[in-house]
Protein backbone atom coordinates (compact mmCIF):
# COMPACT_ATOMS: atom_id res chain seq x y z
CA UNK A 1 0.00 0.00 0.00
CA UNK A 2 1.30 3.45 -0.95
CA UNK A 3 1.98 5.89 1.89
CA UNK A 4 2.46 9.63 2.01
CA UNK A 5 5.75 11.31 1.23
CA UNK A 6 6.11 12.57 4.80
CA UNK A 7 8.51 15.19 3.52
CA UNK A 8 7.74 17.74 6.22
CA UNK A 9 9.70 17.79 9.44
CA UNK A 10 7.90 18.09 12.77
CA UNK A 11 6.41 21.45 13.59
CA UNK A 12 8.20 23.98 15.75
CA UNK A 13 6.83 25.42 19.00
CA UNK A 14 4.90 28.18 17.20
CA UNK A 15 3.05 25.66 15.05
CA UNK A 16 2.27 23.49 18.07
CA UNK A 17 0.35 26.43 19.55
CA UNK A 18 -2.06 26.43 16.63
CA UNK A 19 -4.45 23.81 18.09
CA UNK A 20 -4.76 25.94 21.23
CA UNK A 21 -5.62 29.03 19.20
CA UNK A 22 -8.17 26.97 17.29
CA UNK A 23 -9.49 25.66 20.62
CA UNK A 24 -10.24 29.21 21.78
CA UNK A 25 -12.07 29.91 18.53
CA UNK A 26 -14.07 26.71 18.88
CA UNK A 27 -14.93 27.71 22.45
CA UNK A 28 -16.27 31.08 21.24
CA UNK A 29 -18.25 29.60 18.37
CA UNK A 30 -19.43 26.77 20.64
CA UNK A 31 -20.78 29.30 23.11
CA UNK A 32 -22.54 31.09 20.26
CA UNK A 33 -23.98 27.81 18.95
CA UNK A 34 -25.09 26.81 22.45
CA UNK A 35 -26.74 30.18 23.06
CA UNK A 36 -28.46 30.17 19.66
CA UNK A 37 -29.64 26.57 20.04
CA UNK A 38 -30.86 27.15 23.60
CA UNK A 39 -32.78 30.25 22.56
CA UNK A 40 -34.27 28.40 19.61
CA UNK A 41 -35.50 25.60 21.88
CA UNK A 42 -36.83 28.05 24.44
CA UNK A 43 -38.56 30.13 21.78
CA UNK A 44 -40.44 27.09 20.61
CA UNK A 45 -41.37 26.19 24.16
CA UNK A 46 -42.58 29.74 24.88
CA UNK A 47 -44.54 29.80 21.66
CA UNK A 48 -46.19 26.48 22.46
CA UNK A 49 -47.01 27.55 25.98
CA UNK A 50 -48.20 31.09 25.48
CA UNK A 51 -49.15 31.72 21.86
CA UNK A 52 -52.66 30.27 22.42
CA UNK A 53 -53.15 31.57 25.93
CA UNK A 54 -55.29 34.48 27.04
CA UNK A 55 -55.84 35.90 30.48
CA UNK A 56 -58.74 37.93 31.74
CA UNK A 57 -58.16 40.18 34.74
CA UNK A 58 -61.03 41.71 36.62
CA UNK A 59 -59.91 44.60 38.71
CA UNK A 60 -62.24 46.21 41.18
CA UNK A 61 -62.00 47.17 44.85
CA UNK A 62 -65.53 45.82 45.37
CA UNK A 63 -65.46 42.09 46.18
CA UNK A 64 -69.03 41.56 45.07
CA UNK A 65 -68.41 43.14 41.71
CA UNK A 66 -65.34 40.99 41.35
CA UNK A 67 -67.26 37.79 42.01
CA UNK A 68 -70.18 38.73 39.79
CA UNK A 69 -68.03 39.82 36.88
CA UNK A 70 -65.82 36.75 37.24
CA UNK A 71 -68.84 34.53 36.82
CA UNK A 72 -70.11 36.60 33.89
CA UNK A 73 -66.75 36.57 32.18
CA UNK A 74 -66.37 32.85 32.73
CA UNK A 75 -69.78 32.21 31.22
CA UNK A 76 -69.00 34.49 28.30
CA UNK A 77 -65.69 32.77 27.58
CA UNK A 78 -67.17 29.31 27.84
CA UNK A 79 -69.78 30.34 25.32
CA UNK A 80 -67.18 31.24 22.71
CA UNK A 81 -66.57 28.47 20.15
CA UNK A 82 -62.97 29.62 19.67
CA UNK A 83 -62.08 29.26 23.37
CA UNK A 84 -61.35 26.12 25.38
CA UNK A 85 -60.12 25.35 28.88
CA UNK A 86 -61.55 28.25 30.79
CA UNK A 87 -60.31 28.27 34.38
CA UNK A 88 -61.02 30.85 37.06
CA UNK A 89 -58.11 31.19 39.46
CA UNK A 90 -59.01 31.19 43.12
CA UNK A 91 -57.80 34.21 45.13
CA UNK A 92 -55.35 31.90 46.91
CA UNK A 93 -53.84 30.85 43.55
CA UNK A 94 -53.45 34.49 42.53
CA UNK A 95 -51.82 35.28 45.85
CA UNK A 96 -49.43 32.35 45.38
CA UNK A 97 -48.45 33.72 41.97
CA UNK A 98 -47.65 37.12 43.41
CA UNK A 99 -45.91 35.88 46.55
CA UNK A 100 -42.46 35.42 44.93
CA UNK A 101 -42.56 39.04 43.71
CA UNK A 102 -44.21 40.86 46.57
CA UNK A 103 -43.56 38.56 49.48
CA UNK A 104 -46.09 36.29 51.23
CA UNK A 105 -46.59 38.75 54.11
CA UNK A 106 -47.67 41.57 51.83
CA UNK A 107 -50.01 39.35 49.81
CA UNK A 108 -51.67 37.91 52.93
CA UNK A 109 -52.66 41.35 54.12
CA UNK A 110 -55.54 43.29 52.67
CA UNK A 111 -53.97 43.74 49.29
CA UNK A 112 -56.66 43.98 46.66
CA UNK A 113 -56.07 41.19 44.20
CA UNK A 114 -57.60 40.96 40.74
CA UNK A 115 -59.59 37.87 39.76
CA UNK A 116 -57.82 35.99 37.03
CA UNK A 117 -59.30 33.75 34.38
CA UNK A 118 -57.03 31.60 32.24
CA UNK A 119 -58.21 30.32 28.90
CA UNK A 120 -56.78 28.79 25.76
CA UNK A 121 -57.62 29.51 22.16
CA UNK A 122 -58.59 26.58 19.98
CA UNK A 123 -55.63 25.61 17.80
CA UNK A 124 -55.93 26.71 14.19
CA UNK A 125 -58.67 29.25 14.85
CA UNK A 126 -58.00 32.92 14.18
CA UNK A 127 -59.58 35.16 16.82
CA UNK A 128 -60.23 38.90 16.55
CA UNK A 129 -58.95 39.85 20.00
CA UNK A 130 -60.20 43.46 19.84
CA UNK A 131 -63.71 42.31 19.07
CA UNK A 132 -63.56 39.66 21.80
CA UNK A 133 -62.42 42.29 24.31
CA UNK A 134 -65.30 44.59 23.32
CA UNK A 135 -67.85 41.82 23.76
CA UNK A 136 -66.32 40.84 27.10
CA UNK A 137 -66.51 44.45 28.29
CA UNK A 138 -70.26 44.36 27.82
CA UNK A 139 -70.57 41.30 30.09
CA UNK A 140 -67.91 42.36 32.60
CA UNK A 141 -67.04 46.08 32.45
CA UNK A 142 -64.09 45.70 34.83
CA UNK A 143 -62.51 42.90 32.82
CA UNK A 144 -59.30 43.36 30.88
CA UNK A 145 -58.36 40.85 28.22
CA UNK A 146 -54.65 40.10 27.89
CA UNK A 147 -53.30 38.11 25.00
CA UNK A 148 -49.60 37.23 25.03
CA UNK A 149 -49.23 37.66 21.28
CA UNK A 150 -47.69 41.15 21.42
CA UNK A 151 -45.47 40.28 24.37
CA UNK A 152 -44.42 37.06 22.66
CA UNK A 153 -43.74 38.85 19.37
CA UNK A 154 -41.41 41.27 21.14
CA UNK A 155 -39.74 38.42 22.99
CA UNK A 156 -39.30 36.49 19.76
CA UNK A 157 -37.82 39.59 18.10
CA UNK A 158 -35.31 39.90 20.92
CA UNK A 159 -34.56 36.22 20.81
CA UNK A 160 -34.07 36.28 17.02
CA UNK A 161 -31.78 39.29 17.37
CA UNK A 162 -29.67 37.40 19.88
CA UNK A 163 -29.60 34.43 17.52
CA UNK A 164 -28.46 36.67 14.67
CA UNK A 165 -25.73 38.07 16.90
CA UNK A 166 -24.70 34.49 17.75
CA UNK A 167 -24.62 33.65 14.04
CA UNK A 168 -22.52 36.76 13.43
CA UNK A 169 -20.08 35.63 16.13
CA UNK A 170 -19.84 32.20 14.48
CA UNK A 171 -19.16 33.84 11.09
CA UNK A 172 -16.51 36.16 12.51
CA UNK A 173 -14.83 33.27 14.30
CA UNK A 174 -14.96 31.20 11.09
CA UNK A 175 -13.32 34.05 9.16
CA UNK A 176 -10.67 34.38 11.87
CA UNK A 177 -10.10 30.62 11.74
CA UNK A 178 -9.61 30.75 7.98
CA UNK A 179 -7.26 33.73 8.32
CA UNK A 180 -5.12 32.09 10.98
CA UNK A 181 -5.01 28.84 9.01
CA UNK A 182 -3.85 30.72 5.91
CA UNK A 183 -1.19 32.42 8.02
CA UNK A 184 -0.07 29.12 9.56
CA UNK A 185 0.00 27.42 6.15
CA UNK A 186 2.09 30.21 4.65
CA UNK A 187 4.44 30.02 7.59
CA UNK A 188 4.73 26.24 7.16
CA UNK A 189 5.29 26.63 3.42
CA UNK A 190 8.12 29.04 4.17
CA UNK A 191 9.71 26.80 6.80
CA UNK A 192 9.45 23.76 4.51
CA UNK A 193 10.59 25.61 1.39
CA UNK A 194 13.63 23.42 0.78
CA UNK A 195 11.75 20.17 1.29
CA UNK A 196 8.95 21.30 -0.99
CA UNK A 197 11.43 22.34 -3.67
CA UNK A 198 13.11 18.95 -3.38
CA UNK A 199 9.94 16.90 -3.78
CA UNK A 200 8.89 19.19 -6.63
CA UNK A 201 12.18 18.47 -8.39
CA UNK A 202 11.70 14.76 -7.77
CA UNK A 203 8.42 15.07 -9.65
CA UNK A 204 5.76 15.50 -6.98
CA UNK A 205 2.65 17.25 -8.19
CA UNK A 206 1.17 20.24 -6.37
CA UNK A 207 -1.80 18.14 -5.32
CA UNK A 208 0.51 15.57 -3.69
CA UNK A 209 2.22 18.30 -1.69
CA UNK A 210 -1.11 19.91 -0.81
CA UNK A 211 -2.40 16.52 0.39
CA UNK A 212 0.45 16.27 2.87
CA UNK A 213 -0.51 19.69 4.26
CA UNK A 214 -4.24 19.07 4.29
CA UNK A 215 -4.09 15.89 6.39
CA UNK A 216 -1.85 17.58 8.95
CA UNK A 217 -4.15 20.58 9.15
CA UNK A 218 -7.24 18.33 9.38
CA UNK A 219 -5.74 16.70 12.45
CA UNK A 220 -4.66 20.06 13.87
CA UNK A 221 -8.21 21.39 13.41
CA UNK A 222 -9.84 18.34 14.98
CA UNK A 223 -7.38 18.43 17.87
CA UNK A 224 -8.11 22.13 18.44
CA UNK A 225 -11.83 21.40 18.13
CA UNK A 226 -11.74 18.69 20.77
CA UNK A 227 -9.77 20.88 23.17
CA UNK A 228 -12.21 23.74 22.50
CA UNK A 229 -15.18 21.48 23.21
CA UNK A 230 -13.58 20.42 26.47
CA UNK A 231 -13.28 24.11 27.43
CA UNK A 232 -16.89 24.63 26.37
CA UNK A 233 -18.08 21.74 28.52
CA UNK A 234 -16.31 23.29 31.52
CA UNK A 235 -17.78 26.76 30.87
CA UNK A 236 -21.31 25.41 30.32
CA UNK A 237 -21.06 23.27 33.46
CA UNK A 238 -20.09 26.32 35.49
CA UNK A 239 -23.00 28.35 34.03
CA UNK A 240 -25.45 25.50 34.71
CA UNK A 241 -24.14 25.10 38.25
CA UNK A 242 -24.64 28.76 39.10
CA UNK A 243 -27.91 28.91 37.13
CA UNK A 244 -29.37 26.11 39.23
CA UNK A 245 -28.58 28.00 42.40
CA UNK A 246 -30.93 30.79 41.30
CA UNK A 247 -34.71 30.65 41.54
CA UNK A 248 -35.72 29.01 38.28
CA UNK A 249 -38.92 31.08 38.11
CA UNK A 250 -36.78 34.14 37.47
CA UNK A 251 -35.02 32.64 34.44
CA UNK A 252 -36.25 31.30 31.16
CA UNK A 253 -35.74 27.56 30.86
CA UNK A 254 -32.86 27.26 28.36
CA UNK A 255 -32.56 23.82 26.84
CA UNK A 256 -30.60 22.59 23.82
CA UNK A 257 -32.45 20.17 21.57
CA UNK A 258 -30.90 17.27 19.63
CA UNK A 259 -30.14 19.47 16.63
CA UNK A 260 -28.25 21.88 18.85
CA UNK A 261 -26.40 18.97 20.44
CA UNK A 262 -25.53 17.61 16.99
CA UNK A 263 -24.26 21.04 15.89
CA UNK A 264 -22.04 21.23 18.98
CA UNK A 265 -20.80 17.66 18.55
CA UNK A 266 -19.98 18.38 14.91
CA UNK A 267 -17.91 21.48 15.71
CA UNK A 268 -14.52 19.71 15.99
CA UNK A 269 -15.01 17.91 12.68
CA UNK A 270 -16.32 21.06 11.00
CA UNK A 271 -13.28 22.92 12.32
CA UNK A 272 -10.97 20.20 11.03
CA UNK A 273 -12.56 20.23 7.60
CA UNK A 274 -12.41 24.01 7.42
CA UNK A 275 -8.71 24.13 8.33
CA UNK A 276 -8.01 21.26 5.95
CA UNK A 277 -9.69 22.92 2.97
CA UNK A 278 -8.13 26.29 3.78
CA UNK A 279 -4.65 24.75 3.95
CA UNK A 280 -5.18 22.85 0.69
CA UNK A 281 -6.38 25.91 -1.23
CA UNK A 282 -3.57 28.05 0.21
CA UNK A 283 -0.87 25.53 -0.73
CA UNK A 284 -2.22 25.07 -4.25
CA UNK A 285 -2.41 28.82 -4.81
CA UNK A 286 1.12 29.41 -3.56
CA UNK A 287 2.62 26.51 -5.51
CA UNK A 288 0.84 27.62 -8.67
CA UNK A 289 3.00 30.75 -8.59
CA UNK A 290 6.24 28.75 -8.52
CA UNK A 291 8.26 27.22 -11.36
Amino acid sequence: MARGLNFMAREGTAARLLPWVIAIMVLLSGLAVALGAALFGSMRAWEDATARSITVQIVSPDAEVLAAEARAAEAFLKGQPSIIDVRVLKPADTAALLAPWLGADVVDQDLPLPRMIDASLKPGVEVDMANLAQQLAVEAPHARLDSYADWLANLLDLSRTIQLVALGVILVVAIALVAITVFATLSRLASQRDSIELVHLIGARDATIAREFQWRFLWTGIKGGIIGMAFLAIVVSIVIYYGQRLDSAMLPDLTIDWWGMAALAGLPLATGIMTMLTARVTVLRVLAGQV
Binding site: M1, A2, R3, L5
Partner: protein, 232 residues
Amino acid sequence: MRYGIGEEVLKDISFHLDPGSFHFLSGPSGAGKSSLLKLMYLAHRPSRGLITLFDEDIILTPRKALPGLRRRIGVVFQDFRLLDHLSAFDNVALPLRVIGEKEERIREHVSELLEWVGLAERMQSRPPTLSGGEKQRVAIARAVIARPELLLADEPTGNVDPLMGDRIVHLLLELNRIGTTTVVATHDTRLMESVPGAPRLVLERGELTVMRTGLSGAAEAAPAWMTTPGGA
Protein backbone atom coordinates in the same frame (compact mmCIF):
# COMPACT_ATOMS: atom_id res chain seq x y z
CA MET B 1 19.80 32.86 -18.16
CA ARG B 2 19.81 35.51 -15.46
CA TYR B 3 18.65 35.73 -11.83
CA GLY B 4 16.26 38.63 -11.36
CA ILE B 5 17.68 41.74 -12.94
CA GLY B 6 21.29 40.63 -12.52
CA GLU B 7 23.80 39.90 -15.27
CA GLU B 8 23.27 36.89 -17.47
CA VAL B 9 25.07 33.95 -15.91
CA LEU B 10 24.70 31.82 -19.02
CA LYS B 11 24.56 33.25 -22.51
CA ASP B 12 24.56 31.95 -26.05
CA ILE B 13 25.01 28.38 -24.97
CA SER B 14 24.12 25.71 -27.46
CA PHE B 15 24.63 21.98 -27.08
CA HIS B 16 22.91 18.70 -27.67
CA LEU B 17 23.08 15.54 -25.58
CA ASP B 18 22.54 12.36 -27.51
CA PRO B 19 20.25 9.89 -25.77
CA GLY B 20 22.40 7.52 -23.73
CA SER B 21 25.47 9.73 -23.84
CA PHE B 22 27.85 10.44 -20.95
CA HIS B 23 29.20 13.98 -20.52
CA PHE B 24 31.26 15.79 -17.97
CA LEU B 25 30.48 19.40 -17.20
CA SER B 26 33.44 21.31 -15.91
CA GLY B 27 34.69 24.80 -15.43
CA PRO B 28 35.91 27.08 -12.68
CA SER B 29 33.76 27.95 -9.69
CA GLY B 30 31.13 30.52 -10.56
CA ALA B 31 31.26 29.66 -14.24
CA GLY B 32 27.59 28.71 -14.23
CA LYS B 33 27.69 24.91 -13.91
CA SER B 34 25.02 24.78 -11.24
CA SER B 35 22.88 27.28 -13.12
CA LEU B 36 23.09 25.14 -16.25
CA LEU B 37 22.15 22.05 -14.25
CA LYS B 38 19.22 23.93 -12.67
CA LEU B 39 17.92 24.69 -16.13
CA MET B 40 18.32 21.02 -17.05
CA TYR B 41 16.55 19.67 -14.00
CA LEU B 42 13.79 22.22 -14.46
CA ALA B 43 14.35 24.20 -11.27
CA HIS B 44 14.44 27.33 -13.41
CA ARG B 45 13.12 28.36 -16.77
CA PRO B 46 15.45 30.23 -19.13
CA SER B 47 14.96 34.00 -19.43
CA ARG B 48 15.50 33.62 -23.16
CA GLY B 49 16.50 30.96 -25.63
CA LEU B 50 15.30 27.43 -26.22
CA ILE B 51 15.65 24.26 -24.20
CA THR B 52 14.28 21.05 -25.61
CA LEU B 53 14.08 18.17 -23.14
CA PHE B 54 12.54 14.83 -24.04
CA ASP B 55 11.31 16.50 -27.25
CA GLU B 56 9.44 19.14 -25.24
CA ASP B 57 10.10 22.86 -25.53
CA ILE B 58 10.52 23.76 -21.86
CA ILE B 59 9.41 27.35 -22.28
CA LEU B 60 6.14 26.28 -23.85
CA THR B 61 5.56 23.28 -21.59
CA PRO B 62 2.64 23.99 -19.25
CA ARG B 63 3.52 23.95 -15.56
CA LYS B 64 1.31 20.97 -14.82
CA ALA B 65 3.31 18.87 -17.30
CA LEU B 66 6.62 19.54 -15.54
CA PRO B 67 6.26 16.83 -12.82
CA GLY B 68 6.01 14.22 -15.57
CA LEU B 69 9.28 15.46 -17.07
CA ARG B 70 11.01 15.77 -13.70
CA ARG B 71 10.23 12.14 -12.90
CA ARG B 72 12.40 11.21 -15.90
CA ILE B 73 15.36 13.11 -14.43
CA GLY B 74 17.54 12.05 -11.53
CA VAL B 75 19.58 14.69 -9.76
CA VAL B 76 22.52 14.37 -7.39
CA PHE B 77 22.70 17.73 -5.66
CA GLN B 78 26.03 19.10 -4.58
CA ASP B 79 24.62 19.76 -1.09
CA PHE B 80 22.81 16.39 -1.10
CA ARG B 81 19.45 17.88 -0.11
CA LEU B 82 18.53 14.96 2.10
CA LEU B 83 15.57 15.31 4.43
CA ASP B 84 17.00 15.14 7.92
CA HIS B 85 13.85 13.79 9.59
CA LEU B 86 13.70 10.78 7.25
CA SER B 87 15.91 7.68 7.40
CA ALA B 88 18.36 6.95 4.60
CA PHE B 89 15.86 4.35 3.38
CA ASP B 90 12.96 6.80 3.25
CA ASN B 91 15.10 9.45 1.55
CA VAL B 92 16.00 7.02 -1.20
CA ALA B 93 12.39 5.81 -1.43
CA LEU B 94 11.03 9.32 -2.07
CA PRO B 95 11.10 9.22 -5.91
CA LEU B 96 9.36 5.83 -5.90
CA ARG B 97 6.70 7.06 -3.49
CA VAL B 98 6.16 10.13 -5.68
CA ILE B 99 5.25 7.87 -8.60
CA GLY B 100 3.06 5.70 -6.36
CA GLU B 101 5.18 2.56 -6.43
CA LYS B 102 4.00 -0.28 -4.19
CA GLU B 103 5.67 -0.49 -0.79
CA GLU B 104 6.83 -4.08 -1.32
CA ARG B 105 8.71 -3.08 -4.45
CA ILE B 106 10.04 0.03 -2.75
CA ARG B 107 11.40 -2.09 0.10
CA GLU B 108 13.02 -4.50 -2.28
CA HIS B 109 14.60 -1.94 -4.63
CA VAL B 110 15.73 0.54 -2.03
CA SER B 111 17.31 -2.13 0.15
CA GLU B 112 19.14 -3.58 -2.83
CA LEU B 113 20.48 -0.22 -3.95
CA LEU B 114 21.52 0.88 -0.47
CA GLU B 115 23.31 -2.42 -0.07
CA TRP B 116 25.05 -1.82 -3.37
CA VAL B 117 26.34 1.59 -2.28
CA GLY B 118 27.57 0.07 0.97
CA LEU B 119 24.88 1.45 3.28
CA ALA B 120 23.05 -1.76 4.17
CA GLU B 121 23.82 -1.20 7.83
CA ARG B 122 22.83 2.44 7.73
CA MET B 123 19.39 2.18 6.13
CA GLN B 124 17.52 3.40 9.17
CA SER B 125 20.04 6.09 10.06
CA ARG B 126 19.06 9.69 9.61
CA PRO B 127 21.25 12.06 7.60
CA PRO B 128 22.55 14.05 10.58
CA THR B 129 24.21 10.86 11.84
CA LEU B 130 25.79 10.01 8.47
CA SER B 131 29.24 11.06 7.30
CA GLY B 132 29.63 13.29 4.25
CA GLY B 133 30.46 10.31 2.05
CA GLU B 134 27.47 8.33 3.33
CA LYS B 135 25.17 11.26 2.68
CA GLN B 136 26.55 11.53 -0.82
CA ARG B 137 25.85 7.86 -1.47
CA VAL B 138 22.30 8.23 -0.17
CA ALA B 139 21.84 11.22 -2.48
CA ILE B 140 23.14 9.23 -5.42
CA ALA B 141 20.93 6.26 -4.58
CA ARG B 142 17.92 8.58 -4.45
CA ALA B 143 18.81 10.06 -7.83
CA VAL B 144 19.05 6.71 -9.56
CA ILE B 145 16.44 4.60 -7.74
CA ALA B 146 13.68 5.36 -10.25
CA ARG B 147 15.96 4.54 -13.22
CA PRO B 148 15.86 8.06 -14.72
CA GLU B 149 16.37 8.68 -18.41
CA LEU B 150 18.57 11.68 -17.65
CA LEU B 151 20.94 11.76 -14.69
CA LEU B 152 22.47 15.05 -13.59
CA ALA B 153 25.13 14.82 -10.92
CA ASP B 154 26.71 17.87 -9.32
CA GLU B 155 30.12 16.90 -7.88
CA PRO B 156 28.98 13.35 -7.04
CA THR B 157 32.38 12.27 -5.74
CA GLY B 158 33.20 15.44 -3.90
CA ASN B 159 32.89 13.96 -0.41
CA VAL B 160 33.99 10.36 -0.83
CA ASP B 161 37.32 8.60 -0.71
CA PRO B 162 38.91 7.48 -4.01
CA LEU B 163 37.71 3.90 -3.59
CA MET B 164 34.09 4.93 -3.10
CA GLY B 165 34.55 7.51 -5.85
CA ASP B 166 35.45 4.68 -8.21
CA ARG B 167 32.37 2.72 -7.13
CA ILE B 168 30.17 5.74 -7.76
CA VAL B 169 31.67 6.28 -11.20
CA HIS B 170 31.10 2.62 -11.88
CA LEU B 171 27.44 2.99 -10.85
CA LEU B 172 27.01 6.05 -13.07
CA LEU B 173 28.59 4.19 -16.01
CA GLU B 174 26.36 1.17 -15.37
CA LEU B 175 23.32 3.39 -15.51
CA ASN B 176 24.68 5.04 -18.62
CA ARG B 177 25.18 1.64 -20.22
CA ILE B 178 21.54 0.76 -19.74
CA GLY B 179 20.56 3.98 -21.48
CA THR B 180 20.60 6.76 -18.94
CA THR B 181 21.90 9.99 -20.41
CA THR B 182 24.38 11.24 -17.85
CA VAL B 183 25.92 14.62 -17.13
CA VAL B 184 28.42 14.84 -14.30
CA ALA B 185 29.49 18.29 -13.16
CA THR B 186 32.91 18.09 -11.57
CA HIS B 187 36.24 19.76 -10.97
CA ASP B 188 37.84 16.37 -10.41
CA THR B 189 40.35 15.75 -13.21
CA ARG B 190 40.96 12.20 -11.96
CA LEU B 191 37.25 11.48 -12.24
CA MET B 192 37.10 12.84 -15.79
CA GLU B 193 40.14 10.82 -16.78
CA SER B 194 38.51 7.67 -15.42
CA VAL B 195 35.98 7.79 -18.25
CA PRO B 196 38.08 8.07 -21.38
CA GLY B 197 36.33 9.49 -24.38
CA ALA B 198 33.53 11.18 -22.47
CA PRO B 199 33.01 14.65 -23.95
CA ARG B 200 33.50 17.61 -21.63
CA LEU B 201 31.20 20.58 -21.61
CA VAL B 202 33.47 23.34 -20.38
CA LEU B 203 31.82 26.44 -18.99
CA GLU B 204 33.79 29.61 -18.58
CA ARG B 205 32.35 33.03 -17.82
CA GLY B 206 28.90 31.82 -18.82
CA GLU B 207 30.00 30.49 -22.22
CA LEU B 208 30.30 26.87 -23.15
CA THR B 209 32.64 24.87 -25.33
CA VAL B 210 32.49 21.17 -26.05
CA MET B 211 35.79 19.30 -25.75
CA ARG B 212 36.04 15.84 -27.18
CA THR B 213 38.84 13.95 -25.49
CA GLY B 214 40.72 10.77 -26.03
CA LEU B 215 39.88 8.38 -28.78
CA SER B 216 36.16 8.63 -28.75
CA GLY B 217 33.34 11.16 -28.52
CA ALA B 218 29.77 11.00 -27.35
CA ALA B 219 28.87 8.29 -29.80
CA GLU B 220 31.50 6.00 -28.27
CA ALA B 221 30.54 6.95 -24.69
CA ALA B 222 27.00 5.92 -25.43
CA PRO B 223 27.02 2.20 -26.16
CA ALA B 224 25.67 1.39 -29.59
CA TRP B 225 23.58 -1.45 -28.23
CA MET B 226 21.66 0.84 -25.99
CA THR B 227 18.05 0.66 -26.94
CA THR B 228 16.29 2.31 -24.02
CA PRO B 229 14.14 5.07 -25.52
CA GLY B 230 14.34 8.69 -24.39
CA GLY B 231 17.24 11.00 -23.71
CA ALA B 232 17.89 14.63 -23.63
